[in-house]
Symmetry: C2
Subunit: 210 residues, 2 copies
DNA sequence: GGTTCTCGATACATCCACGTATCCGATACA
DNA sequence: TGTATCGGATACGTGGATGTATCGAGAACC
């Protein structure tokens, strides 16, 4: 994938990485729109000159960041799927645990959880405003969602269960409930570790014996 | 409600109204963060002087706007409830129609639909960042949501149906699915009039005969 | 009809972020 | 070790948004 013969120097690679890390932090703290390029550079220990030598604009940075995050989520998802496949979790409420596990894979770090769900919101917003960004962004999202569908399908089959609705709809509903729950949790300030009971309610509705 | 003896001159009232209208427009078009106060004033046909004589900051404007909108949505909701109460819609798929009708009441204008769902996102974001805004904003949202719960409860009772889960959870799920569907619709560019089939799928899951 | 006060307009000073053009040190390569 | 290129730093000019202090017209009130 990506441009084949376009070799990137390791030095450049590192500074790009540090800039992305810093961007994640600063975006999470101050918001994507509100965050100045300067602030990102400062957090990364660089000057604006370095930034403009690596990215053309904040949009480019934004897309590179989501690219990296989506990629990380995809690999995390695959790893989780491998772990779940052969030997399902507890026998108690296997689906709940499994779903929770899969969701945790996509959104692992509880500290980053908050930052990420807020940033995801903002990313979506940027995409909603800029059609050019929208196409790239929604492609990324689609990939992630499809992967989720596949993983859950396989998981359900392994567990001898099935969704009451199409798996695409199921995933859409799950994601919607997940995000909604997380946001209201953030708003009300309740820092529950669990992704709200809403998901589990929905899972009970969605999952039926095969 | 509000400050009792603090009389507001009719003149002031009008300019405030025009500023709010303009803010709705400009916010929808350019985004809340991106929109400059100046732009709002220009759209309203005023100068910045007028603005600062009516609002202390953009946050104040924002809160006044959401206040007005939620109020409007609440009254629309009540009106819809009255219409639905005595004589349910079609006999075909009464719940679907009813739910769609209620949702349409909360989010009526198809043209404003897009603007509003984007703005709602952005509002939530502002609230997520500013704790002071969050308390006021989430109070508004809670009011609206509770009203929705009541309306749907009454509606279901009238139709001889019931939710498979608690009505609060049901409303949360419905709202989540609604927003998620709307946003993905916006992202993919499909300008469906219907609020996506996701809602109907969910309604079928949620609603059972009493 | 005159006086007062309200409210929006005008003008000003400030600040901050942006993007670019240029420079200089370090690294790679011979 | 000498040289050329790469990549980040420095410095500059610019534009736009903010908030405030002041002014003047017109409405309200007697």
């Amino acid at each position: 994938m990506a441009t084949p013969s376009e070799t990137i120097s390791p030095r450049r690679e590192r500074t790009r990485g540090r800039l992305l890390d810093a961007a994640f932090d600063v975006f999470a703290r101050h918001g994507v729109q509100a965050a100045s390029i300067e602030a990102v550079c400062e957090a990364a220990g660089f000057t604006r000159g370095a930034f403009y030598s690596n990215f053309a604009s904040k949009e480019e940075l934004f897309l590179a960041l989501t690219e990296r995050e989506t990629r990380a989520q995809l690999t995390a998802l695959e790893a989780a799927a491998v772990n779940l496949g052969p030997d399902p979790v507890g026998a108690d409420a296997p689906i709940r645990d499994a779903v929770r596990c899969v969701l945790a894979a996509v959104m692992p770090d509880p500290a980053a959880k908050q930052s990420w769900s807020v940033m995801a919101l903002e990313f979506e917003l940027m995409a909603l405003r800029d059609p050019q960004v929208a196409t790239r962004y929604s492609a990324q999202q689609r990939r992630l969602r499809n992967e989720l569908v596949d993983t859950l399908d396989r998981l359900m089959k392994d567990l001898g269960l099935r969704f009451a609705v199409g798996s695409h709809d199921a995933v859409d509903l799950l994601l919607g409930a997940f995000e909604a729950g997380q946001r209201t949790a953030l708003l009300t300030g309740s820092d529950d570790a669990r992704p709200s009971t809403l998901i589990e309610t929905l899972v009970d509705l969605l999952v039926t014996p095969a």
